[in-house]
């Protein structure tokens, strides 16, 4: 079975898929509490179908971009479980998952943007082209991080999927749902090989905030 999880947004989302379909999903009720909610959600999806961790044959994990702390919780969980079980871990750009979700829901077709909340009045974004529901997800540009208003006007004119669109309605004219990626969609796109798979490496896109040493300050 494929275990899928994503912690690149304030949500925790987990799904379990057998050879045919998603058989269980779980998530947390409290935003930004990935560390507390992820492991119980994994235990929950396994218990829902009387499965054990040894029944898991592969793990798919959202690699962001997204807030770093939550992102790391998901990735270290996937990597550790995979190391114990000796199974592969597939990383998937979380924006790609949301793009597929939007296309499959019929919310978009052709070219569009996905934008998520990067805080500090910025968005994580990427541009896509999807032929229609169930089609391959083609990322044309991104992922990038920056202020919504700084995107080229022709991109901002495209339909926008994701929380970033709702947060910056002035910059983005045509805002559509869904807002956040789900692990069920992640499991489906990995099983159908509709997205690019990567190593389970976090997509930080930003350097750590830190100031290098300069001349020392006087105290008196």
């Amino acid at each position: 079975m494929l275990l899928a999880l994503d912690t690149a947004t304030p949500d925790v989302t987990v799904a379990l898929r057998d050879d045919d379909r998603v058989v269980a999903t779980a998530g947390g009720d409290h935003p930004m509490r990935h560390g507390e909610q992820l492991a119980p959600a994994i235990a929950e999806v396994l218990a829902a179908v009387d499965a054990t961790p040894r029944d898991v044959t592969a793990i798919a994990v959202g690699t962001g971009p997204g807030p770093f702390t939550g992102l790391r919780v998901g990735i270290v969980t996937a990597r550790t479980m995979a190391a114990v079980l000796g199974i592969p871990t597939y990383g998937v750009c979380s924006l790609d998952v949301l793009a597929a979700q939007a296309a499959d829901a019929g919310a978009v077709e052709g070219r569009f943007l996905v934008a998520s909340d990067a805080r500090r009045t910025e968005v994580y974004w990427a541009a896509y082209d999807v032929a229609g529901p169930g089609a391959d997800v083609v990322r044309l540009d991104g992922p990038h991080v920056g202020p919504a208003a700084d995107l080229p006007a022709e991109l901002r004119a495209l339909p926008v999927v994701g929380e970033g669109g709702r947060l910056y309605p002035v910059a983005f004219g045509d805002v559509r749902g869904p807002e956040r990626p789900s692990a069920a969609a992640l499991a489906e796109v990995v099983a159908a090989e509709r997205v690019a798979l990567s190593d389970p490496e976090p997509r930080y896109l930003r350097r750590p905030d830190a100031v290098e040493l300069s001349a020392r300050k006087r105290v008196s």
């Binding site: 507390e36 054990t52 961790p53 702390t69 270290v76 550790t80 190391a83 114990v84 290098e212 105290v219």
Partner: protein, 348 residues
């Protein structure tokens, strides 16, 4: 002996990713990956840099510990993890990994206190702790004086630092003297050539008035400022700064106040065993002064070897083993990190 549970400990509260394996009080593996060099150009630990390094080091360090001990993760009977105190984002990486292990292996999870782990680790070196002891823990992140009646369940905080940890004071003074980060080893090296009595720097919270309220507490920010003013006055006068004397005198002030208060507590409580732990015990003068004062006070001193004094997974496994042996309940998979977990709470 072999029927004691095999406990794996994970540590990620600051800049070391540690995984230890312990059976009872026997150390089987102690694998550590440090990001200390990545922090050097910032002059202190940068939380985001530390968290990123923990993520990259976690699985390789787990595998290295298993190789060292010649065991498989499937042999592990219990997982212990630092759930506080420390940097929240850094703690979360270790706790998430520990939960993933517990969940996948179907083994119990125990969230434990990092500071108490610094005491428990001594059991790996000197065997079971006496029924009651004092512990002086000094590192870049903490400065605590504890009374330990039961390592798994009964720890009382007698005092702690009101501002900087002792190790932080070393880092800051090293910067003042243009010595490299981390400050502990670089000041120690330079101080060996200096005169510890050259400058009388202040001993924080030792005046009669302070002792009434803060008998076992520490303060190092005033000392740091005093060193800065002294150095600036020299520079302003156009005189060379006697770096070795400043380092030696500063180190003397820190070690004096740490050991003075610790042995005062031993006397006051009639306790005759003391553990001195934490990364700052790598400091030669601290060990020497503690040994002299222990001798004078009739206190048996227990100091783990330097490798076990710095942050590592073995100390967490050691505390985990004590908690398991005491028959305590495991933590849930919803265990939260607590960046300011007080030392009196052995379990996170």
């Amino acid at each position: 002996m072999t029927d004691e549970p095999l406990v794996l400990g994970i540590e990620s509260s600051c800049d070391e990713t540690g995984v230890g394996l312990v059976r009872g009080t026997t150390l089987l593996a102690d694998a550590v990956a440090s990001s200390v060099e990545e922090h050097a150009r910032f002059g202190g630990v940068v939380p985001e840099v530390a968290s990123r390094a923990h993520l990259e080091a976690m699985v390789p360090t787990l595998e290295r510990a298993c190789d060292e001990a010649g065991v498989s993760l499937w042999d592990v009977d219990a997982i212990a993890v630092t759930s506080g105190p420390g940097l929240a984002g850094a703690l979360l990486v270790g706790v998430a990994a520990a939960k993933a292990l517990a969940l996948t292996l179907g083994k119990p999870l125990y969230g434990v206190n990092h500071v108490v782990g610094h005491v428990a680790v001594d059991q790996l070196e000197h065997g079971p702790l006496p029924p009651e002891c004092l512990a002086l823990l000094v590192s870049g992140g903490h400065t605590n004086l504890l009374r330990v009646s039961d390592i798994a369940s009964d720890v009382e905080e007698l005092g702690g630092t009101l501002d900087d940890a002792a190790g932080e004071a070393f880092d800051k003074v090293a910067r003042l003297l243009d010595l490299p980060y981390p400050g502990g080893p670089s000041i120690d090296a330079v101080a060996a050539e200096g005169d510890p009595a050259a400058i009388r720097f202040p001993r924080g919270l030792t005046s009669q008035r302070d002792l009434e309220r803060h008998r076992y507490d520490f303060s190092f920010s005033g000392l740091k400022t005093a060193v800065a003013r002294w150095v600036e006055a020299k520079e302003a006068a156009g005189e060379p700064v006697p770096v070795a004397d400043v380092a030696a005198s500063f180190r003397e002030a820190v070690c004096d106040v740490l050991t003075r208060k610790a042995f005062d507590a031993a006397r006051a409580h009639g306790i005759t065993d003391m553990v001195v732990g934490g990364g700052v015990t790598a400091n030669a003068r601290l060990r020497e002064m503690a040994a002299v004062r222990a001798e004078a006070a009739g206190v048996r001193l227990r100091t783990p070897r330097p490798r076990l004094c710095t942050d590592n997974g073995a100390m967490i496994a050691a505390l985990g083993a004590a908690v398991v042996a005491a028959g305590q309940e495991p933590s849930g998979l919803d265990l939260a990190v607590d960046s300011s977990l007080p030392p009196s709470e052995v379990r996170g």
